[in-house]
Amino acid sequence: MPTQDSQAPKLARISGHNLESLFAQTIEQIGRVILGKQEQIRLALACLFAQGHLLVEDMPGIGKTTLAKVLAGTLGLDFHRVQCTSDMLPGDILGVSVFEQKSGGFVFHPGPVFTQVLLADEINRATPKTQSALLEAMEERQVTIEGQTRPLPGPFFVIATQNPLEQAGTYPLPESQLDRFLMRTAIGYPDRASEHSLLAQGGVFRELEEVRPVFNAEKVARFQKLVLKIHTSQALIHYVQDILEYTRKSSAFRLGLSPRAGLAILAAARAWVFINGRNYVLPEDVQKVLPYVAGHRLRGAEGQDGFAPDELMGLLLSVPVPS
């Protein structure tokens, strides 16, 4: 696209890299492991670079864990995984202080949360207490244990998953907690060709091992700051406002989007633009990320919790793009 071509060099100068080729390389490498899911990979990357967290709602065996692993590997970040259960305590995630006889004092044993990419599997199986401890850490990017505040390593990115079908024995995340996830997405079944090659090669273990870091933690943190500089024009902000207003007035929704949701839409759109190598946001970018950012924050008039991305297409069609 000419609009992007003409702007890309400028952004490349700022970042010191040819972003387009850098991200193309990253996505290509992740795509070798997560077959046929370009869109989800881009969204996950955008979520990370927008300093948000990702909620993945899908069935087991779709490749959520693999996505988190390969993402961490490609970006050169630490990776931990927590399998949430109902008997889990906050300490199991955050860490505990243990008395050590040798030194005669308490020593802090950091929990799995002290990492850069954290996969919290089946987060709705954890008790509300544990959930809130994790979500607190996500929001504050630090944990306070026994009166001592410990910052989490940056960048810090949580991918939480939940199984939308199995509801027995779960604690669904309350609306206020859902709000802490920048995006909610589903991975979905692979298409026929991708699944064929997956089955033919007997899994992606070899590819997973071959993953080489394209980024490192320092670079990720620097890029996250660059994303904030992506330009959002007055016209674009008006467009986002129109969308917010529409959700508040339309009879299809019981609960419209909050100002925080508006900030989230803009942040996600900026990151989306960044990984596509442009330096200003277009309405199309907002339309691209909106279903994933707004879906879990809206409440339907008939009481349904959240909307699938497809269901929000009507919303985007009803809000005119200003000229």
Partner: protein, 663 residues
Amino acid sequence: MAQADIRARPIALAVCLCTLPHIFNIPPWTAAVSAGLWVYAFFARGRGWPFPGGRILTVLAFFGFAGILASQGGGLGTDGAVALLSLMAALKILEIRTHRDRMLTLVLCYFLIVSGLFFSNSLGATLYMFFCVWCATAAIIHVNQPGMGARAPLRLSGVLMVQALPVMAAWFLLFPRIQGGLWSRFFTHAQKTGFSSEMSPGNIADLARNTAAAFRVEFEGEPPARRHWYWRGVALWDYDGTTWRIGDREASLGRRFSGKGRAAYTVSLEPNGERWLFALDMPSGVFARAVHRDDHTFYIRQPVTQRLIYNAVSYTQYNTGPLDADKAALALPRGLNPKTRELAQRLRAESKNTDQYVQKILAYFRENPFYYTLKPPLPGESAEYRQNRVDEFLFGSRRGFCGHYASAFAVAMRAAGVPCRVVAGYQGGARNPYGGHVTVRQSDAHAWCEVFTEEKGWTRVDPTAAVAPGRILMDASQILEAEAALDIFRMLRGTRMGQWMNTAGFGWDYINSRWNLWVMGYSQREQAGLWSRLGIDPGGIRAPAKAMGLALCAGAVVAFSVALFHARRPGTRTDAVGRAWEDFCGKLNRAGLTRRPGQGPVDYMETVSRARPDIAREVRGITSIYTRLRYGRGGSADSERSLALLVRRFNPPARRRVKQGAE
């Protein structure tokens, strides 16, 4: 659910507001039941009262229907239909379960509103109808967009109505009018307050308390002097000792007479259920459809059930000519009022001519202690007095109002062989300082006499003036005030509040007269005039179609300009860049490549490029500049200019000419 509660109340309120004008038109029990249902519906959800199930509602609806049928005597007239509508709308509120029910109930409101036209089309009623439409529309907006609060739907509804006004005006002026026929059958202004074609003791005094407007008169030029303001209604010929009646008179084409002091005027007569038309003494002609009686009175064949506007011409100085005096003008019931007959014959014998005799009778009124009062003593108990009412009045009580004086005077004339008739109508009126028109009220009702002499023809004699000359210069309501010791108007008289109320009253009356003349009086005739001024021959077969087309065009123009106004409203960002983009989209739209409202620029560009590779380069160029200017980090004035230039030069050929145009 708390949400549903919020949604039910505006509906109940809308139904209530829309039904209110009917409260006195429908049977009282229907009104009471409906009011009960509103109150129940209004508070039920908030207080957790139970809602009746479908079966109970069915039973209620059935009994309501049966009850209305019964109270209407088996048939369902207009009143019955409106009562049914009111009751069912009230029941429907309790039946609300779904969105569809809500909408249906609110649609019923509009039927309720328009049914108000069956009863009144006055300015006040119309304004109230507008108010109801405003509220009902706001309720519909609320039902469809809950959570906007109370003010936003009302504002939106008001905006919608203001936008509709020009369209309404265009259609009102141009849409072919259906005169009478359709509507008049339904109009049921049945109340017969006001004028009556008989005169018996008491009926004018009753009118004196009624300050409603009887009719309004607009003169061409200056009105004649106030002392000429005798508004002729009926001439009464037959007297049976109690009541004066019009008698059997032949209809004529109108008797010609010579006159001076011509006055031409337009009367707008309020519906009164009678057939008489009022005109200034002495009318030479009233508009064509009226029947002209040989006593210079006019009537129409159908009772006046809706406001009637007619033109008339009168002469204030007149001579009806030497007609043969009718025998009916001398007839008196045999044997009644012996004292009056005796007085009449004595005075007649003392007079040289009729004129002198008339003066003597008037002098008799003046010189004896007669009093003008609207509360005359009731006739005595004795049979003699009850029969000889004129004797009782002339020699007994000597207290009465115009009806008594006119009656006594006429009897005295006839007893002496002087032809005389009583004329009933209105006298006086108030000239409105704003419009210059004259408003005559029911309280101005009056009765006077006409005496026939060979030289002058029929001549007006007002015996009341002999007793209470002030009566002719004041109106009856002032006399009522004078008689009522504790009257609020009297207390206010002379105070600033009183003056203010007077001014406000005149203002309101003026607006009403304009409304009646310009809006309610806008008929086929006026419309034909407008059509011919617009170049449509009103007589042509296709005139209605042409006018409708014109009305549609006018409506479209108005709608379009409203849309334009909205598009260019400040706040919707209409800078040069936006306009250029709109022009660009408009050009592509004409070439058959429409942008969906929710489609972003790059998305649109890609769609267009795929569909039309021949213009893809231009489209890409323009879109690229536009997106950079609009969404990028600002742009130079140069690129703004080049965008405008590119868009101006951009001229997408229609698909057919692609091959040739590509070179």
